[in-house]
Amino acid sequence: MDLRITHTTRYDYDQPVGYALQRLRLRPPSNGMQTVQDWTVTVTGGVIELTCADHHGNVMDLVNTTRGSSDLVITASGTVTTHDKAGVLGKVYGAAPLWHFEQASPLTEPSRGIRTLAKPLKVSTNLLADLHTLSATILSAVPYATGQTYMETTAEEALAGAVGVCQDHAHIMIATARVAGLPARYVSGYLMMDDRVDQDASHAWAEVHLPTLGWVGFDVSNGISPDTRYVRLAVGRDARDAAPVQGLRMGPGDESLIVTLQVQQ
């Protein structure tokens, strides 16, 4: 399936910017699940200082906001062909070893609740089926609801609060898999919802490494493994590592953020 994507992130500043940096992870990789046909990242109100790869292999752009700007607009757009792999990326590895993805990270520290969720996995004889069951269990324990959790909400907090968004679902799934000794990671990306062109927000899901299949994706929020409507952007141990846009601004004033996303066939 060919997906055409336009992802715009707009910062409006109420005072002219002194110095602000944004780190972008907005360049999707080509792999067994997707082939990038064309892709551009453009910036107005700032410049791309450099492009490099992080330790997870994500391609990053570092953006410097032009001094005195009152806004910064980042547009990532292009066409990606997706291939149906039933959510299985497989045995594809980068510089980070599997044990790296077995370690807890700041947003995925295990709690008692997460340890309880992990119990069936520890004695599992069919990991794939039990991970799907876990995914369903997480969704029923933590129904999807926006506005209740934040960028920095941990897996433990989301589980205790019993509501969350895709980021929280992915964090709980990841934290639980790691307690059971399975390498797990966070994937940020896009999802084309069938009934609309303008999508709500960029998406996120979990990937767990199975000895047999390698990396397998689980979108807890939608109760499925990623199919051809999904485009991967970046991976990491948690949302912080894979954030499409991460920034730091010096000086006074407030900023507002508007993200618009169009994904269509």
Binding site: Y19, L21, R23, E49, L50, T51, C52, A53, D54, H55, G57, M60, L62, N64, G94, A95, A96, P97, W99, H100, E102, Q103, R237, Q246, L248
Partner: protein
């Protein structure tokens, strides 16, 4: 002066002989008129006050800033002894750089099962952000201060491999400068290998480590946390001595894909940053977001190959005290040779058998925090009270993995000058090692730290230690 039989005195053999390296010095010393040494000692102190070397002592409110005591009697090492020592240090530093490159890339040593994965995976000093990246010239530890102790004629042990941001080199330079001022005649009588070209060598070594993308003469800067840092004097001293810029985080920005410093004539690109800011505070966009001391985005500039950071972030994974215990294996693995310098026997308290042994023998052992430095948070068993031992045992049981223990070494002594004349005190040695793609350069000698209290084994300046000039004799 009498030497106790249970430790090695570097000046004397028995009660009357003088070890060969000290022959010339002792002859000169015996010629000195009474009272001259006491006067010189006062002069030296005044000299230090003028040059302004002071040292902040954490945890001592009454003495926030004070001089590190300097002793006038040099510690003397023969050319033959130094050749062996420096070969051992070079071998070890080579192994450490190979280890760091491996740990952050292919991880052969883990695949080979030579060290446990958890030791790296759960190590706070291991920085995942360094994985899949090779710094310019594959150099990680541009500056190393290897702490060495001696227990006998041919017995040298490495106590610590300081591969993060070792300090103290300014004392090495000032100590020699002071000695040259105090006793010029001594240096014409005895040929001592110079240390004064250290700043020049440091500059050359850092310049040789510049990124490939750097065209022309590399611009070098020293990044300091600022005037409140205990080693600020050293930061400004080194910048001054090597003709480099002294900068703080807020002076630096990302400009044209590089790190640049603000000047009156606009931004100036920096190619090599000798940073004296810890990893955690280096880049608020990557590590601690609250850090005001670092440079946002510097890790991106680094991974893009546009700057050299000295030392590389994440080198702490090679010098913590748990990794230390594996150092003989690490040297063997990467150099194919047996380690020339010995390691002190080390018990990893995280291992149940070791913990039991350590608890049973606490009064005879030195216990250190895995990530500790500066003598903080350590227990010297033989010097501890019963209550101190019991309290420390509780700490050990609570977090065994946080500690290692070592036998108390009977460190060698070198005399210091006291009212009554010469008296032996325990010493260690920190040679300074420079690493660049062109090779390894070790300044002859280093910083000798001395425990000024009779019988004390703790030489750290933060715990009341002093320093001495260290001589390596010409052949």
């Amino acid at each position: 002066m009498s030497t106790k039989p249970d430790h090695f005195d570097e000046m004397r053999v028995g009660d009357d002989g003088v070890r060969a390296p000290y022959d010339g010095y002792k002859a000169w010393y015996d010629e000195q008129p009474p009272g001259r040494f006491a006067r010189k000692s006062k002069e030296a102190e005044a000299f230090f006050r003028r040059t302004g070397i002071t040292f902040n002592v954490y945890g001592q409110v009454a003495a926030q800033e004070r001089l590190i005591p300097f002793d006038l009697v040099p510690r003397i090492i023969s050319s033959r002894e130094w050749t062996k020592l420096s070969k051992g240090i070079e071998q070890r530093v080579r192994a450490i750089n190979a280890f760091l490159h491996d740990i952050y890339n292919r991880q052969e040593i883990l695949r080979a099962g030579r060290i446990p994965i958890d030791l790296i995976a759960r190590n706070a000093a291991f920085l995942p952000q360094m994985m899949g990246f090779s710094p310019p010239g594959d150099v990680y530890t541009h500056i190393v201060g290897t702490d060495i102790v001696r227990t006998g004629e041919d017995d040298f042990f490495v106590l610590e491999d300081n591969a993060r941001t070792p300090s103290g080199v300014s004392y090495m330079l000032e100590n020699r400068e002071t000695m040259l001022q105090m006793f010029p005649e001594l240096f014409s009588r005895i040929k001592v290998q110079p240390v004064s070209d250290y700043p020049k060598n440091l500059r050359r070594s850092l310049a040789a480590s510049a990124p490939k993308s750097c065209g022309g003469k590399p611009v070098i800067a020293v990044l300091t946390p600022g005037i409140y840092n205990s080693a600020y004097y050293e930061h400004s001293f080194l910048a001054d001595q090597m003709g480099a810029e002294l900068v703080e985080g807020h002076d630096l920005r990302v400009v044209d894909g590089h790190i640049a410093m603000r000047t009156t004539r606009g931004y100036k690109q920096i190619d090599v940053l000798y940073r004296r800011v810890d990893d955690e505070y280096l880049d608020p966009l990557t590590f601690n977001p609250k850090s005001m001391l670092g440079v946002p985005g510097i890790m991106d500039v680094y991974r893009a190959g546009n700057i050299t950071i000295a030392n590389a972030p994440g080198t702490g994974v090679s010098d913590d005290k748990a990794i230390y215990s594996y150092m003989p294996d690490i040297v063997q693995f990467y150099t194919g040779e047996k380690a020339i310098l010995k390691n002190v026997e080390t018990f990893r308290c995280g291992e149940p058998d070791s913990l039991k042994y350590v608890l049973d023998n606490l009064a005879d052992l030195v216990v250190k925090e895995v990530h500790g430095s500066g003598g903080y948070g350590m227990l010297v068993g033989p010097a501890a009270s019963k209550k101190e031992l019991a309290d420390f045992a509780d700490k050990l049981r609570a977090r065994p993995g946080n500690y290692i223990a070592q036998p108390t070494l009977s460190l060698s002594t070198v005399p210091i000058f006291v009212k009554k004349g010469l008296a032996p005190r325990h010493v260690d040695l920190r040679p300074y090692v420079l690493v660049s793609p062109e090779g390894i350069n070790i300044t002859p000698g280093g910083l000798t730290r001395v425990a000024l209290t009779e019988g004390s084994l703790v030489v750290n300046s933060s715990q009341g230690g002093g320093t001495k000039d260290t001589w390596v004799l010409e052949d």
